[in-house]
């Protein structure tokens, strides 16, 4: 990375670390948490969908599995939450491996792969809704016991920093993908799988590795969610909304780029807040939340149609033109 790039990155990290000191209201910290959390989940999607070109419509299933694994281990088996967190990540990774092996062995790609992940998430939702161990549609409540050893904190700022750390970890992972053989192979598979195979790449193995990594990281996110909000149910854990959000932040920010999901998450939350405020000003409107989602849908269409490389792609184009001038 260039000198300038490194300094910019360093400054940005400092800004993100300092944020809760400057904006110390609960509202601001929770907003920061949401933006970084969405960026983190988006980055896990980006690893498979952006870097390897495996567009998934059901990525929430890894989040949900992670969330339920750590929660059930805590509540039903008394496992320490920090250890349960590890198992959540392993659970997500295992599911990623299974889905990868089955789908890719069957040669599924493109729209078919996207749809099968959607179906897998739906199976997850239905199972979670029906089996006694998940308490079905009632969901599971975590006993509030805010101690660090219990992975619960009274002050939300701790969750902010945990999610910031996860976000930075995911950024590092994505950055590594741009600098390693594994990442180069994923990019080759994304661009042209046949040509990649002719150059010695075992595309099945690489894609499975990628989905395993993505699933594991996503599963880890599931635990963090439940530890903060102390509640999980099938619609939160396996609902389509989260899959869509992960996809959106990555595509709008720039699929296959390191910073894409972070930028996408920031933009999406800004747009969401603005739309909600404007919407609430309209007469007779009680809940303007759907308006934000309408804007998101329109943004997705706009990105796919006109800016397929997302905002990062726009920045890169501008920089190239500036350099030439």
């Amino acid at each position: 990375m260039t000198r300038r790039g490194l300094t910019l990155t360093g400054l940005s990290v400092l800004v993100l670390i300092a944020y809760p000191w400057v904006f110390s209201s609960n509202y601001a910290i929770n907003l920061g948490f949401l933006v970084l959390f969405a960026a983190y989940l988006g980055q896990t999607w980006n690893i498979a969908g952006g870097f390897a070109g495996q567009t998934s419509f059901g990525h929430v299933v890894f989040f949900g599995v992670g969330a339920y694994v750590s929660t059930i281990l805590q509540t039903a088996y008394g496992v320490n939450p920090w250890i349960a967190w590890l198992f959540a990540a392993l659970g997500g990774a295992l599911l990623g491996w299974i889905v990868g092996v089955l789908s890719y062995r069957a040669g599924l790609k493109g729209a078919y792969f996207a749809l099968i992940t959607l179906a897998v998430a739906e199976v997850g939702r239905i199972v979670a809704n029906s089996v006694p161990i998940t308490k079905g549609g009632l969901g599971i409540l975590l006993q509030a016991d805010p101690r660090p050893a219990n992975f619960q904190f009274r002050d939300p700022v701790w969750f902010y920093y945990i999610v910031l750390a996860l976000c930075l970890l995911s950024l590092l992972t994505a950055w590594q993908l741009t600098r390693t053989r594994f990442g180069a192979r994923l990019a080759a598979i994304r661009e042209n799988e046949d040509a990649a195979q002719a150059l010695g790449i075992d595309s099945l193995r690489e894609k499975v590795k990628c989905l395993t990594l993505s699933g594991g990281l996503c599963g880890a996110g599931g635990t963090v969610y439940v530890q903060k909000y102390l509640y999980i149910d099938p619609s939160i854990a396996f609902g389509v909304d989260k899959s869509v959000e992960m996809l959106l932040v990555s595509m709008i920010g720039g699929a296959g780029t390191v910073l894409g999901p972070l930028i996408g998450s920031g933009l999406l939350h800004v747009v969401g807040e603005v739309t909600r405020d404007l919407g609430n000003m309209l007469p007779g409107v009680s809940n303007a939340q759907p308006l934000s989602l309408i804007v998101y849908g329109a943004l997705l269409i706009a990105i796919v149609a006109w800016l397929p490389d997302g905002l990062m792609g726009l920045f890169r184009k501008r920089r190239k033109e500036a350099r030439r001038a």
Binding site: G107, I116, A119, V127, I294
Partner: protein, 291 residues
């Protein structure tokens, strides 16, 4: 337990629902077969059509769904045609995935627009004859279900005749088989594609009228319907009319028996499971062409 009588009733009810699903799937498979578009907005558009039926049924218009059927179908056709011309047509020549993402965006917009205007409540229609029961052997079926089943199959028959006997139908089949060739013999391919999309959505309009008497609609209905539609089309084979017919009936029965056997909650698992198994084991479906 599952006695033969209960099983029989389950199968009959499944077939009744399946008949309407056929109509939904036929639209999707037509759109895929002719346009090579994976229309992810199919479920949301069906939901939108159902809300229209509800809206027409409400005072002051008070139209019975079977009466509003020709209007809703025509309206759905026009909506689909315009949607294709203004948005979808521009992207129908790109990668499979792109059009999937665009129709995803469309479904998000439709889902949330309905949520915004109609709130999250579930809506149902009460028609006077809803409680009328007909006995078919040991099974008892609500009259509207039987009427809807018959109407759905009739519409499919009419559509089939349209595709084989009329010039437009032949043009559509020509474009589906060989786009360039169709262009070369002077067929207005873009126009045909827009009309095909319109017909696909018109099927949803008709299906909406047939579903509303015995079903409910909510802003999240789109999700359930889209998976059902795709499962049927995957089972039957992408682009296959016969496949949609058989697949729709099979899936209707699977859904019904699944509910009986595993209970209302777990029973829903039948459809996504069938979808996953089809994609893993026989992606071309029963009648589809090899990929």
């Amino acid at each position: 337990m599952l006695t033969p009588e209960i099983l029989f009733a389950g199968v009959i009810n499944g077939l009744m629902a399946g008949g309407i699903y056929v109509l939904v799937a036929v639209g999707l498979t037509l759109i895929y077969g002719v346009l090579h578009i994976v229309n992810f907005a199919h479920g949301s558009l069906l939901m939108l059509a159902m809300y229209s039926v509800f809206f027409l049924w409400r005072k002051p218009l008070g139209l019975d769904p079977y009466v509003s059927l020709p209007f809703v179908t025509a309206g759905a056709f026009a909506f689909g045609y315009l949607l294709y011309r203004s948005l979808i047509g521009h992207f129908s020549h790109g990668k499979d995935e792109n059009i999937l993402l665009i129709t995803l965006g469309l479904s998000i917009i439709i889902d949330n627009a309905t949520l915004f205007f109609f709130t999250g409540d579930t809506q149902t229609i009460d028609v006077a004859y809803a409680g009328h029961m007909i006995s078919l052997g040991p099974a008892v079926v609500a009259l509207p279900k039987l009427v809807s089943f018959g109407a759905a199959l009739l519409i499919c028959l009419l559509l089939g005749l349209f595709m084989t006997r009329t010039d437009m139908g032949k043009a559509i089949r020509a474009v589906a088989k060989e786009r360039q060739g169709a262009r070369l013999v002077g067929i207005d391919v873009e126009g045909v594609m827009a009309i095909s999309y319109g017909i696909g959505i018109a099927c949803l309009g008709a299906a909406a009228c047939l579903l509303m008497p015995t079903f409910y609609v909510s802003p999240t209905s789109g999700h359930a319907f889209v998976l059902i539609a795709f499962t049927i089309v995957a089972l039957g084979g992408m682009g296959s009319f016969k496949g949609a017919l058989l697949g729709g009936l099979i899936i209707g029965v699977v859904e019904s028996i699944g509910g009986l056997w595993l209970g209302e909650q777990l029973g829903q698992i039948g459809i996504p499971l069938v979808f996953i198994l089809i994609l893993l084991l026989r992606p071309t479906g029963l009648f589809g062409a090899a990929r």
